[in-house]
Amino acid sequence: MDIKRRMLLGVIAVALAGLATAQENQPQQIVIPLTRPDEPGKLILERHRGSISVKGYEGTVVLIKAFVRRSTGTAPSDRDAEGLKPVSAAAIQLDAHEVDNVVTVDAHSRNKSIDLDISVPARFALKLGVLDDGDVIVDGLTGDVEVNNPYGRVRLDRLTGSANVNTVDGDISVRFLGVDTGVPLALTSFHGKIDVAFPPDVDLTVRVKSDEGMVWSDFDIAVEKRRSRTDPAGKTGGTRVSLEEWTTVRIGRGGTDVLLKSFDGNIYIRKIKETPSGA
């Protein structure tokens, strides 16, 4: 019977917007209620083209606003349209469905990037993937946040859960208000900078490596001379695999595992000095 109920709630919201509005930036908006409003949930949004901004709030529903990106150039791409004003805007197709507190969103338009402005209950976890042409901004969540945005930037603020971020070109900036012990954090980029801030009293074990960049920190750091990661079977006389060495540092008493890696971006590990005002 529970299954039936879930199925019923399964496809909750589908918003189709082919509205002929002359105003390009009129947002499409949908509201998605949850099966169990008082419990943590998860938002999944992958292969998106455009920016995503997610805010944690006190409510119990997921609220999504979708904007078509304003064309940056003034010249219309269609030569035949020269001298004409657009009558119909690009259509946004915004789909969302919820199954057992997991909300899966898909927003696309044939040829435009779509920027999303999303509010979720603060206890949500996120799994966000951007294909192109957008940044990811997240604020005030206690769940685990997973972001993959190869070409854009990622900024996560006021997190208390874990973060798992990968970019290729974009810079990563993450500010933690607390760290959920035991859940590993991983922030990696190829060309981007990684800037991560923790409260002063955290206990972390950080593995950090920038092949061609520098690593900086204002924490009191104990560098652990870790075994080079060689053949743990040991003394087999066989092959020794030694990868280029990571630096392992202990912050506080050590604890939650943190992996920070960039190929040629610098890495900054900051201590949050003032107590966050919450603003």
């Binding site: 976890a125 990968n166 053949d231 020794r240 695999v241 990868l243």
Partner: protein
């Protein structure tokens, strides 16, 4: 016949009694009496002492003499030797059960780890990869799962960690093979370079072909390309 015997016995008794009557009985002297009293006193004394002495003799703790320590030491060593022997002689089945339990725990850890690798949360899968590195002597199932993760995990960071975890077991030819095979499947520059590093450390010449394929790809990152070209030069 019987009468005759009886008469003979009677005659014998008669002569015996006559002999006894004729024996001279000495008079008890005063001396004898005194001696007896003295002996009696002595015996009484001795009994008295005997009754008191056990309290002292059988309680070594009142007697802090030099004999105490050796005796304690002997007792202790007996206890230890006994314990040791007992331990050695513990029936085999129980120890075998402990071994069984240990391997069961190992087995359970493995099952948990394999299940975690299938979890939808990237954080859980990262934990699983860490876990796999801590397993003593991972078996084929674990190594296969790690190889699958390197190839197919949707999260770059999980793949990156899985490459490192697998590289620890590159002694195994199957692991090597899996690592070589997965080179062409990687699109993330971080993972591409991590694999190239492993190949270089292993001096694995079979990696040259797949690495060249990546270099030839129009999508390859410039830094990756120059790093990979250097790797190929070093391998040849």
């Amino acid at each position: 016949m019987r009468k005759q015997k009886k008469a003979k016995r009677l005659a014998e008794y008669e002569s015996l009694l006559r002999d006894v009557d004729e024996m001279e009985v000495p008079e008890p002297s005063v001396e004898m009496d005194q001696k007896f009293q003295a002996m009696l006193e002595e015996t009484k004394k001795a009994r008295f002492l005997e009754e008191r002495e056990p309290v002292r003799r059988h309680s070594p703790f009142f007697e802090l003499g030099p004999g105490l320590l050796p005796r304690l030491a002997a007792t202790l060593s007996l206890i230890i030797v006994g314990w040791f022997l007992g331990y050695q002689v513990t029936p085999r089945p129980e120890r075998a059960r402990i071994d069984d339990l240990a391997s069961e725990v190992q087995e359970m850890k493995k099952t948990v780890m394999l299940a975690m690798l299938e979890n939808s949360s990237a954080a859980e899968r990262m934990k699983a990869v860490q876990f796999a590195q801590e397993l003593a002597g991972p078996d084929e199932a674990v190594l296969n799962a790690l190889a699958r993760t390197v190839n197919d995990d949707p999260n770059v960071n999980v793949r990156l960690m899985a490459v490192e975890a697998l590289a620890l077991y590159a002694d195994d030819p199957r692991v090597r093979e899996a690592l070589v095979q997965s080179i062409v499947r990687q699109e993330s520059p971080l993972v591409q370079l991590a694999l190239a590093e492993v190949m270089l450390a292993l001096n694995e010449k079979r990696a040259v072909e797949p690495i060249r394929k990546i270099i030839a790809s129009p999508l390859v990152d410039y830094s990756v390309k120059s790093k990979l070209e250097a790797t190929v030069r070093q391998l040849l």
